[in-house]
Structure formats: structure tokens, C-alpha cells
Amino acid sequence: MPHIALPEGFPGISGPMVYRPETAKPLNELAQALLRGHDTLTAAECELIATYVSSLNDCYYCQSIHGAIAAHHLKGNEQLVLDVKANYETAEISNKLRALLAVARKVWQGGKQVTPADIEKARQHGATDLDIHDTVLIAAAFCMYNRYVDGLATWQPRDTDFYRWRGAVVGEEGYLNLRREAIATHKAE
């Protein structure tokens, strides 16, 4: 049960976002800007970084929904998402993404844990400054989103099909349509 009276039927972050739309709007716009990918970092890679950080923070909702969005971008490859969460060092991903996940892990431990060697390794595997910038901001932002979701003890359904379905919707439509999110929850019930 949530620590405060949130609107019922809205899973995870959508509960407090419906409760406080003024802060929800820029948070969703930030997610949209960070997770839809750009020339050198794909949406799937961005979502995998978000999923991995959320799993480190033990946030069930965030790792489930972003894992499902990542799988949607990966043409349904849910196993790769599980592999990255279990051990990104052995998962079948590019060495660039592996190095960026190592940077993300350091950000999760604490910003000051990121070293010039971590950055250099990412560069050696082809990461641009923009890729590194976005990785650090995704990792930092998800430490915030994860704490927001669990700090209010939001309702987080355990139905895998719900995340699969909603992951496909968000994967296609993005993060900006809050009205659609409400409809999505209604259908899941």
C-alpha cells in the first residue's frame, strides 16, 4: 500500500505522476529525450541502461517496464534483457554498451566512483562524448525515478503480460501521452 493516498489503479510511477502532473510533465519529457535514442546510441541500448540501473536499485516496476520496452525494441528478445541484468559482462552485447553499462554502474554506486579509466575504456570501444553524457544522465535520472517509485511504496503489479503489453505501447508511442497511460492501466485490469 502506498505511503500516501495516490489515485488507485495506476501502477508504479504513473500513480504519483497522476497525483502531481506538474512534476510529471518534465519527468516524462526528460525520459522521452533520454530514452528514444540518437545517431550513435539506440533506443534499445538506452532502455537497457535504464533497466540495468533499475535492477541495481531493486526497483521492480522500473526494471520490468523498461525491460519490456527494451525487449520491444529488440524484436522481443527478452532473454537478452535478462542476461544484461544477470551479468552484462557476459551478455551478447557490443563492447561499447558493455563499457557504458560499467559507467552506469559506477554512477549508481556514486557519481565520484566514475574514473578517467572508465571513460577512456568507453571511448576505446567507440563511445562518443554524447553517448557517455547520456549514459551518465540516464543512470543518474533512473536513480531518481527508482527512488521516487519505491520511496512512495507505489503499487507494482506482478503480471508479466501487463509489462509486455505496456512495454510495446510505450515502445511505439513514447513517454509523452499521459492520457494514454491512464487508458493502458484500465485495460490491464
Binding site: 571513460i119 562524448d129 547520456d134
Partner: protein, 87 residues
């Protein structure tokens, strides 16, 4: 540049500020030879993402709510101290 400031890990971030008020602030402080917080470079590099953070911060820190702005800043300062972030 102020001699007390070290270069950032990401030179492309430091050297490519985009048009936004943070860039104006950087230019102003650089012209004075002042030491300034490099978070300004982070916000100036990719404003299409970070402008949302600025608006989020404005809403959560100054928006209409029962907690006073001063008390909200105190929560932010306390959390930053716990995270060993002096800025």
C-alpha cells in the same frame, strides 16, 4: 579559464555549449575569470534533454505547494550533503 578549474572528463561537453541561459551564464563568468560550477556545462550541452530537468527543478522547488521554498532547499541541501556533493 580560471586556473583553479580542472577540465571535464568530456571535452566535447565542455566545448560545445548550446544557446540557452546556462551558456550565457558561463560566458559571463568566464569573461570575469571567475571560478564557476561545471554543472552549467552539463545543462548547456544538451538542452533538449536538460531543459526538462530545469523545469522539473523549478516546479518541485518553487511550485505551488505547502512546503516553503526555504524548507525545500533545506531538503535538497541535506540530500546533497549526504551524497557528498558540496555544490
Amino acid at each position: 579559464m580560471n586556473p583553479d578549474m580542472k577540465p571535464m572528463y568530456l571535452p566535447e561537453v565542455e566545448n560545445n555549449p548550446q544557446p540557452c541561459f546556462q551558456t550565457d551564464t558561463i560566458r559571463l563568468l568566464q569573461a570575469k575569470g571567475a571560478e564557476y560550477p561545471q554543472i552549467l556545462h552539463l545543462f548547456a550541452f544538451r538542452p533538449e534533454a536538460t531543459a526538462h530537468l530545469t523545469r522539473f527543478t523549478r516546479e518541485v522547488m518553487r511550485g505551488d505547494a505547502p512546503l516553503s521554498a526555504g524548507f525545500r532547499e533545506l531538503i535538497a541541501a541535506y540530500t546533497s550533503a549526504k551524497n557528498s556533493c558540496p555544490f
